[in-house]
């Protein structure tokens, strides 16, 4: 039997294994210890739970998740989250506060990941540039940002930005009257949509789907006939044309609400008027900038390492096959570099998401600030709220990791 063969190999001793005693069967043994471990783990979790509840009761602390339905009586800084959930003091609940925290955390993590990736790749390539100025600049950038703690960067960027912006009654015009900046934030027009706008949104989706189909079909054709097709330009044309036609044929159901800047009246009323147009608060900008610049420094090093990991012989071989430098980079170097880049890149994305919790220091209302800070102080359910928060970060991190693992498997070397 196969089992006793293994038993012979592993135990090395003979007699009882040959009789097939169940005590020495490695499968049975393995199963036994796994069950014991699992039972111990479950017992431990139950014990901790029981003990926690007992102790909380002994301390006279209320417990449970019923607080989530209670109305939250405090104002929250206007951000993406308060807009998405239409936060109203007096009717919104602690559950809304929780969701607002999640949205704000997600917003800054998502934007941070995108910009940090682009900036990191640019800086990583610059570090390998033959141009002394580019290389020097990238080196200084990387060393400065990765060697100073993130929290300090948050304070530096936030207070440096605040100190240098014009005050509330003043502004810097960035784009005429429609886009402007002062200490209370970046103001821009806000799109107000009317009935029928959803058709334009659908049109964008349709164009994207058509682009993907076109790409697949034309790739097949190229593999069969060798004929190339300008998929990118045709796709881009579709992406612009289809929604535009739909937009105007449905009667252009969109209007821009411009921010209003007043220079008259009582001093307090001057400046940008609250609630008109779109505003991005400086806290958000500072958090975003700090997370991006800090993480990009690490990504730059990862990219540099990835590119250096592709042996020079690969480019030479591509050259010998007659590939020009651009296709060599796109088809030979980058795909192989990505294999090395993606796994550590995933860790950087996870770091960025988790580091966003430092934003509590500069008043950006993300999850830790608004839920574990303000809300926790009002209701005092530390265990429940910290547990909820841990679950959110765990979920974000696992989702990012799963996506990157999928991407990694797409990018790995396919051997024929």
């Amino acid at each position: 039997m196969a089992q006793s063969d293994i038993a012979d190999q592993t135990s090395g001793s003979g007699s009882s294994a040959e009789k097939g005693s169940i005590l020495y069967d490695p499968k049975v043994r393995g199963l036994f210890f796994q069950i014991v471990l699992l039972a111990a783990l479950i017992a431990w979790v139950l014990w901790v739970r029981r003990n926690t509840l007992d102790n909380l009761e002994a301390q006279g602390q209320a417990m449970g998740f019923d607080f989530l339905a209670g109305t939250s009586g405090f104002q929250i800084l206007t951000t993406l989250g308060t807009w998405v959930f239409d936060y109203q003091v007096g009717s919104s609940t602690y559950w809304d506060v929780f969701l607002i925290g999640i949205v704000n955390t997600f917003a800054v993590a998502f934007l941070g990941i995108i910009v940090a990736t682009v900036l990191g790749f640019v800086m990583g390539v610059f570090r390998l540039s033959s141009n002394f100025i580019l290389r020097g600049f990238a080196t200084v950038y990387v060393e400065i940002f990765r060697n100073i703690p993130l929290l300090l960067w948050l304070f530096i960027l936030y207070f440096a930005v605040l100190r240098n912006l014009p005050d509330k009654r003043d502004k810097v015009a960035i784009w005429g009257e429609s886009v402007g900046l002062n200490i209370t934030g970046l103001y821009a027009p806000f799109p107000i949509t009317y009935e029928g706008f959803w058709m334009s949104a659908v049109a964008v989706l349709v164009a994207v789907v058509l682009w993907i189909i076109l790409g697949a079909v034309m790739k097949k054709r190229q593999e069969v006939t060798g004929q190339q097709f300008p998929t990118f330009w045709v796709g881009l044309g579709m992406l612009v044309a289809i929604p535009t036609i739909v937009f105007y044929s449905t009667g252009a159901p969109l209007e821009w609400e411009y921010p209003v800047f007043t220079e008259e009246g009582p001093v307090l009323r001057r400046g940008y008027q609250a609630g008109i147009g779109m505003v991005i608060v400086p806290e958000m900008i500072a958090v975003w900038a700090a997370l991006t610049l800090y993480t990009a420094a690490f990504i730059a090093e990862i990219v540099r390492a990835g590119i250096l990991a592709v042996p020079h012989g690969q480019s030479e071989a591509a050259g010998a096959l007659g590939l020009r430098p651009q296709p060599t980079l796109n088809l030979v170097v980058i795909p192989q570099a990505l294999r090395v880049i993606i796994p550590p890149l995933t860790s950087q994305y996870l770091n960025l998401t988790k580091n966003s919790s430092l934003a509590v220091a500069i008043a950006y209302p993300e999850l830790v600030s608004v839920f574990a800070g303000t809300a926790l102080n009002q209701v005092g359910r530390a265990l429940e709220m910290v547990f909820m928060m841990m679950m959110v970060y765990l979920f974000f991190s696992i989702a990012t990791a799963l996506f990157m693992n999928w991407f990694n498997s797409r990018m790995r070397l396919v051997e024929r």
């Binding site: 104002q75 003091v89 102080n377 005092g380």
Partner: protein, 337 residues
């Protein structure tokens, strides 16, 4: 960083046996009182450049130490943010929390804590604006941006005030007071709101303290007092009577300077207070000269007030409602008899 206390509480809830009764024995055994204070609020609890803490709240710790050990300096201080303070106390990290903490019903009933019922400073939330705004009343502040810090009652009070007056505002809430001051100083907000005593203390950190006005409105009641863990009545009684002793001492004219002579006073109230008659300290589990130690080593309430926050200090806070009841204030000490 800030979460450490929250997790500390969580861990404590997991593992610690609920043996919080008997703080007095614990304190006596370890030889010092672990006292939760602010992260630096001039006049109330503030470290000097050598790390020595002083202030009205610190005097609560010192009076307890004098009562328990006969030495006001057997205290170790734990600076806490507004957010961390209650979990630090309920987890047993500190023994008492005199950290300009407002007594509210939720805090007194739902957090596993209890206010022994003494208020060492009657405060109220106020608003400060740059004088250049030309604002003279809080009712003119519709649409203002307001800076404050998280984890306090101030966020709720300001929201209630603006809602009840049908005004809009933007709330920028920082974790620590230092950042609130810096952001307000930079002009991020039109208004800085916190307890009026806090405004008096924090404005000293502004670039030009004179260029700011505290508006006349007091938008909340903020009775600030020490907090202890629920279920430890002996320790709560010590905290309660230490404060009452300081008030009664002021009322009876006993000061740190004359306490020793006053022991021979003919006034029975003074004799009972200073332990030369009766055995009141025993009821607290302390020696009978507990109050004498407090008054001779820390001073009476009036001395403590004048030394840390009174008109001759940078805070320039008039006695106001914190005067003795006999002078028209609210400080009223139950009799020691």
């Amino acid at each position: 960083m800030k979460l450490s206390t929250v997790f500390g509480a969580a861990v404590a809830a997991f593992v610690a046996a609920p043996a919080f009764a008997g703080t007095l024995e614990v304190v006596k055994a370890k030889g010092f009182i672990q006292c939760g204070v602010s992260q630096g609020l001039p006049g109330f609890s503030n470290p000097d450049d050598q790390g020595n803490w002083s202030g009205l709240d610190v005097d609560v710790c010192r009076s307890l130490s004098a009562a328990v050990f006969g030495d006001p300096d057997m205290v170790k201080y734990t600076p806490l943010s507004a957010k961390e303070r209650f979990t630090a106390l309920s987890s047993g990290e500190i023994d008492v929390l005199p950290r300009n903490t407002t007594m509210t019903m939720t805090r007194d009933t739902q957090l596993g804590l209890v206010f022994p019922g003494v208020i060492n400073y009657y405060d109220g939330q106020g608003l400060m604006v740059p004088s250049s705004l030309g604002v003279t009343s809080a009712l003119e502040l519709d649409g203002a941006a307001i800076c404050t810090n998280t984890g306090t009652t101030t966020e709720l009070n300001i929201t209630d005030y603006f809602r009840s007056n049908n005004m809009n505002f933007e709330l920028v809430a920082f974790e620590k007071a230092d950042e609130v001051v810096a952001a307000y100083d930079a002009g991020r907000c039109d208004v800085y709101t916190t307890d009026r005593s806090g405004l008096a203390a924090q404005r000293l950190k502004l670039t030009d303290p004179e260029a700011h006005t505290v508006l006349p409105e007091i938008i909340s009641k903020e009775p600030l007092g020490p907090v202890v863990r629920r279920g430890d009545d002996e320790w709560a009684a010590i905290v309660r009577w230490a404060h009452i002793a300081m008030i009664n001492a002021e009322e009876l004219g006993v000061t740190s300077a004359n306490a020793a002579d006053m022991r021979n006073s003919d006034n029975p109230s003074i004799k009972r207070l200073l332990g030369s008659e009766g055995a009141f300290g025993e009821g607290l589990g302390l020696s009978n000269d507990w109050a004498f130690n407090i008054i001779s080593m820390v001073g009476n309430y009036g001395e403590s007030y004048e030394k840390h926050v009174g008109p001759d200090t940078p805070l320039k806070l008039a006695r106001g409602v914190n005067a003795l009841w006999s002078d028209g204030g609210l400080q009223y000490g139950a009799p020691i008899r």
